[in-house]
């Protein structure tokens, strides 16, 4: 699904990580941990084609990412749902329209998806907030809206970058619950986080691999987590 082979990434002369080899299998659940600045966000950006590796091979859905055209990258992103810590929306559109944006850009009619959209809003607990503008939402609501937007195209992979960074414990547990549900539906999930409490809570519910990004390498974390 997503396969990295001896991948390295550098910003100019500064190498962030190198020799990373990893395969994200369908239906797997991964955490990516590591200190701030270790490259977790960069790693996720590689996984959805926003950045290209400076060395090594990266295959997204069996395609070499370097060989993909810009349009092919755009189409590939419809198969990868992304949730950022500072999730961005189109502030002039109601949150329901923001959640439905991936359908619009894929050329799908929104009229036929109203029921799905309604169910999705219900699932993330935002049914009563459908008409609200993004700036009117709380941090937790924004995270859940971002998750809803990430999954509306029924992607194969969900990538979440510090999804609980700006929300309280209770809300982060709710968000985790949604991600676990998605994983149980067969979606591949990778969460970049330094929140060890979140990892422990997840491991109690799902079989998750924890990867640590430190000293420019990705390693499997110990059982102490």
């Amino acid at each position: 699904m997503i396969e990295l082979e001896q991948v390295a990434y550098s910003y100019g002369d500064s190498e962030l990580f190198s020799d990373v080899s990893l395969i994200l299998q369908p239906g797997s659940f991964h955490f990516l941990t590591g200190p701030s600045g270790s490259g977790k966000t960069t790693f996720l950006k590689l996984c959805y084609g926003e950045l290209l590796p400076t060395a090594g091979h990266l295959r997204l859905f069996e395609h070499d990412v370097r060989a993909l055209s810009r349009d092919a990258i755009a189409e590939m992103r419809r198969r990868v749902g992304v949730v950022h810590q500072d999730c961005e929306f189109l502030d002039h559109l109601p949150i329901a329209d923001n959640i439905a944006l991936p359908l619009s850009v894929a050329g799908q009619s929104l009229a036929g998806e109203q029921e799905n959209l309604s169910e999705l809003l219900q699932w993330v607990g935002l049914r009563n907030r459908a008409g609200a503008l993004p700036p009117e939402l709380s941090g937790g609501e924004r995270q859940r809206a971002a998750l809803a937007r990430a999954v509306i195209m029924s992607p194969d992979v969900i990538l979440a970058d510090e999804p609980t960074g700006n929300i309280d414990w209770e809300m982060s547990q709710r968000l985790l619950q949604l991600l676990v549900e998605l994983n149980k539906m067969g979606k591949t999930v990778m969460i970049a986080t330094h929140d060890l409490g979140l990892i422990r809570a997840a491991k109690a519910q799902v079989s998750a691999r924890v990867l640590r990004l430190s000293e420019r390498r990705v390693q499997l974390a110990g059982a102490d987590l």
């Binding site: 084609g49 926003e50 950045l51 290209l52 810009r70 349009d71 990258i73 755009a74 189409e75 590939m76 992103r77 419809r78 992304v82 961005e88 929306f89 189109l90 002039h92 559109l93 329209d97 944006l101 991936p102 619009s104 850009v105 894929a106 929104l110 937007r149 195209m153």
Partner: protein, 305 residues
């Protein structure tokens, strides 16, 4: 209609109708919208005048050319006693000259009118040594001016043939240059319009960097994002240019009406089907906006991964 044509028309129709969902994704930008409409209106207004200048210059050049090209003048300067004899001799020569359709001696009244602008209405023509003028109308094939001059030297030595080429050439050249300047102005106007719309498009793209980033994140292709901007700017330029063209046509209509007193200014305008020419201006403005915005947006989007 070929398959290709029907596809192209379909694409143009789709572009004009637009994608409502894509349109909504890009927020309205008041400043760039107003700038584009204003710039297009002003440029279209100027383009109408430049077009009027070009069309009028062409018309003038054509008229001068047609009026002078098919005619010549014979001027007979002779002592009063020989004037009639030389005039008769010249007319006889002209009657047998190939290429001469008709030759007519100008009456005293006609000659007086020609001199009136310089000497006033009460000129005593009889007491002045005024040459006699003969107006020659040529056949479409034209006459051989050199051969006629040679014959006239022998039979009417006081006759001087003026085939108007001395006047016609600089007039035609001046009108041609004026027309060229008019077209050059139109070209420059559209270039400036393209530059201004490019700047406005860049400003709109920069102001919407976050929108573009979100759309890219959720899988929007470059063409989808670009079209939302391109369509908006194209329609704004079309609307602005239409307003400017209407105002420009109104201003041309208000120019002095035709008449001898108005001179060249009286000719500055359109006539007949020529009034349809300015209608092309909004279409060209829309095309310029389309190309400028498409190029600007594609360049900007390519900088993003």
């Amino acid at each position: 209609m070929s398959r290709r044509q029907s596809i192209d028309i379909g694409r143009i129709t789709d572009f004009i109708i637009g994608d409502a969902q894509a349109e909504r994704a890009v927020p309205p930008t008041g400043f760039t919208a107003r700038l584009t409409v204003f710039a297009a209106a002003v440029m279209a207004f100027l383009a109408v005048f430049a077009l009027a200048l070009s069309v009028a210059s062409n018309r003038l050049a054509e008229r001068w050319s047609n009026e002078l090209d098919q005619s010549a003048t014979l001027r007979i300067s002779a002592p009063v006693g020989q004037m009639q004899a030389q005039t008769d001799a010249a007319l006889r020569v002209l009657e047998t000259t190939p290429g001469v359709a008709s030759a007519r001696v100008l009456s005293d009244e006609e000659q007086r009118k020609l001199l009136e602008p310089w000497f006033g209405p009460d000129i005593p023509l009889e007491s002045l040594p005024i040459p006699q003028l003969i107006e020659i109308v040529e056949t479409p094939e034209g006459l051989d001016a050199d051969a006629l001059r040679t014959r006239l030297v022998g039979e009417a030595p006081g006759a001087v043939l003026d085939d108007h080429s001395r006047w016609r050439k600089p007039l035609a050249a001046a009108a041609g240059r004026l027309s060229f300047l008019g077209w050059l102005s139109i070209g420059l106007i559209f270039l400036v319009m393209g530059a201004m719309i490019t700047l406005a498009a860049h400003a709109a793209l920069a102001a919407n960097a976050k929108v573009i980033s979100v759309m890219r994140l959720v899988g929007a292709k470059d063409s989808y994002i670009a079209n939302a901007f391109v369509r908006r700017f194209t329609l704004r330029a079309l609307a602005g240019a239409a307003i400017g063209t209407v105002l420009g046509l109104g201003a041309v209509l208000m120019l002095p009406s035709k008449g001898e007193e108005a001179g060249f200014l009286g000719d500055l305008g359109f006539s007949g089907a020529g009034w349809l020419w300015p209608l092309v201006i909004p279409i060209i403005a829309a095309l310029v906006a389309f190309v400028a915005t498409r190029s600007a947006s594609r360049r900007t989007l390519k900088e993003l991964r």
